[in-house]
């Protein structure tokens, strides 16, 4: 089959739509996640999405719902247990290790096909069906809608918490809400690129964008563009050679990151 024949296939088109939606959500959330130094939290949440997915497999419900439940639970736990920024890393480490262990246990107990097990870790966007796609689109719209309402105070709380508190911004409540949004977005990404590689969509594009601009608006726009290029581009590149989607998505995203670092370094010296 040629590249264009492949594009005609239903499941490929579904995958591309899923990737585009995810790229948008991850790209918008990314700069806030990086500013709040939550990269490790995202990683931890994605591991627990994997655990939730594994539990769902075992219970015979949709993996998508399981992943969603797992990461929202994780997000709320992290929000409640790590009140102080200083102990967030260790709280995540503890929860993550336990969650991953549970996930592996549940996969071991599951008697279904092996490919299902593998897909949760490395992503199986080509296996996204229309139910999953619906869940993904609805959740993404919900995440973006909530974000649109809380964006400015959330940004204030992220970059300048002391003054934000002084102006009456509910900093603590916002951080729990944001953790839940990140949890939802993470669960969605797990479907596409897998629990281990969520960072490639949510962190790398944002980190790259923040290397080349100091304007928050421009950083967000660039981060969305980079995430889209990585997600959609990664899938397109993977079609013909039949390589794993997650490998190419992360590769594209990492190349963008390197280029932006280079550009940032050259500019930094020029100034």
């Amino acid at each position: 089959m040629t590249f264009f024949d492949l594009l005609e296939l239903d499941f490929v088109q579904t995958a591309l739509i899923a990737a585009a939606v995810l790229g948008l959500v991850a790209g918008v959330l990314g700069p806030l996640v990086v500013t709040r130094k939550m990269a490790f939290a995202v990683h931890g949440t994605s591991e627990l999405a994997f655990t939730g997915g594994a539990a769902a497999l075992l219970l015979g419900v949709s993996v998508g719902y399981g992943a969603l439940a797992g990461s929202i639970l994780a997000a709320v736990l992290l929000g409640v247990l790590s009140r102080r920024e200083s102990d967030r890393d260790s709280v995540i480490g503890a929860i993550l290790a336990f969650g991953l262990g549970m996930g592996i246990l549940m996969l071991a107990l599951y008697k279904g096909r092996a490919s299902n097990k593998f897909g949760l870790l490395t992503g199986q966007i080509v296996g996204v069906d229309s139910t999953d796609l619906n869940l993904l689109v609805v959740s993404s719209v919900a995440v973006l809608a909530v974000l649109a309402v809380i964006y400015r105070p959330l940004f204030f709380a992220s970059v300048d918490p002391d003054v934000a508190v002084s102006r009456g911004v509910p900093v603590r409540a916002l951080s729990v809400v944001f953790a839940v949004l990140v949890g939802v977005a993470t669960a969605l990404s797990v479907q596409v690129v897998g629990a281990l590689l969520v960072l490639a969509l949510m962190i790398t594009p944002a980190a790259a964008a923040m290397r080349v601009t100091a304007s928050p608006l421009r950083a967000t726009v660039l981060s969305v563009v980079f995430a889209e290029v990585a997600a959609v581009g990664g899938i397109l590149l993977s079609l013909q050679p039949g390589l794993p989607v997650s490998a190419l998505v992360t590769a594209v995203s990492f190349v963008i990151y390197l280029v932006c670092r280079g550009v940032g370094a050259v500019r930094g010296r020029a100034v």
């Binding site: 809380i150 102006r167 911004v169």
Partner: protein, 263 residues
């Protein structure tokens, strides 16, 4: 109505009492300097006024609530890698607390933010990443951030820190201008009284659980400070400067004030 009002206010952490029985009314347009050695509870007083720290007993009220406050926090350098320009920091002080994306009213915001930045002389670096600016430049933007929100009350926690003498004057005159033109009440925490002495209406002096409120003449004299510090303290006026010379507790103050007087 007073801009700030504290009645029988007491703050203690465990058995450690920072202050007790504090009655304080700060009127609109009044400039109150808050003095005291490290750990005497100056920042804690700010936190009480901001509603971050509940009083152990007594009441506190601020006319207009939190949205009426312009707050300049005790300086802590901003993260170097932060994706934030000077103008973004200032604009958050204007409407960062409002819900939504903040895309509406961008033109009006820009005009007001530009004016605030201009007023602190920060236009040259307003578009640079804040993390890369010097301490003094960041501090001036902090002042702009507090001014742009049209505050009825300004809470300034050591705003002169890390500023050179010229900029100390710029910043204190800006705050003074604001309270004269807009009747903003100013609470000004400082370790150095002299740079703002001509502006100060009253002084709140906190030492080890004791305090005194009054005009600079009433508080900054040998008798009152000796009582507060419970050790002989000599207060000398040299031209328009006040020098505090005494033992232990106020060493830092002495150091600052005398260095100030020499320059």
């Amino acid at each position: 109505m007073s801009a700030i009002s504290l009645r029988g206010a007491r703050l203690s952490y465990g058995d450690r009492v920072l202050w007790d029985g504090l009655d304080l009314d700060v009127e609109p347009g009044e400039f109150l300097a808050v003095l005291g050695p490290n750990g005497s509870g100056k920042t804690s007083l700010m936190r009480v006024l901001l509603g971050l720290q509940p009083l152990s007993s007594g009441t506190v009220s601020i006319a207009g609530g939190n949205h009426a406050i312009g707050y300049i926090p005790q300086q802590r350098a901003l993260d170097q890698s932060m994706t934030l320009r000077g103008r973004d920091l200032v604009s958050l002080g204007l409407d960062g607390h409002r819900w939504g994306l903040g895309l509406r009213g961008r033109r009006e915001r820009r005009v007001r933010v530009d004016a605030a930045i201009e007023s602190v002389g920060g236009s040259a670096y307003a578009d640079s990443p804040v993390g890369l600016l010097s301490g003094g430049e960041q501090q001036r933007l902090r002042v702009a951030q507090a001014l742009v929100g049209d505050p009825g009350v300004m809470l300034c926690d050591e705003p002169l820190l890390s500023l050179d003498l010229a900029n100390q004057r710029v910043v204190s005159e800006l705050i003074d201008k604001r309270r004269r033109e807009a009747d903003t009440a100013v609470l000004f925490v400082t370790h150095e009284l002299n740079p703002v002495l001509p502006l100060v209406d009253r002084v709140l002096y906190l030492v080890g659980g004791r305090f005194r409120v009054g005009t600079p003449e009433e508080v900054m004299n040998s008798r009152t400070l000796s009582e507060l510090y419970r050790t002989p303290v000599e207060v000398v006026r040299v031209r328009d400067q006040i020098l505090v010379v005494g033992a232990g507790a106020c060493e830092e103050q002495t150091h600052h004030l005398s260095a100030e007087a020499v320059s």
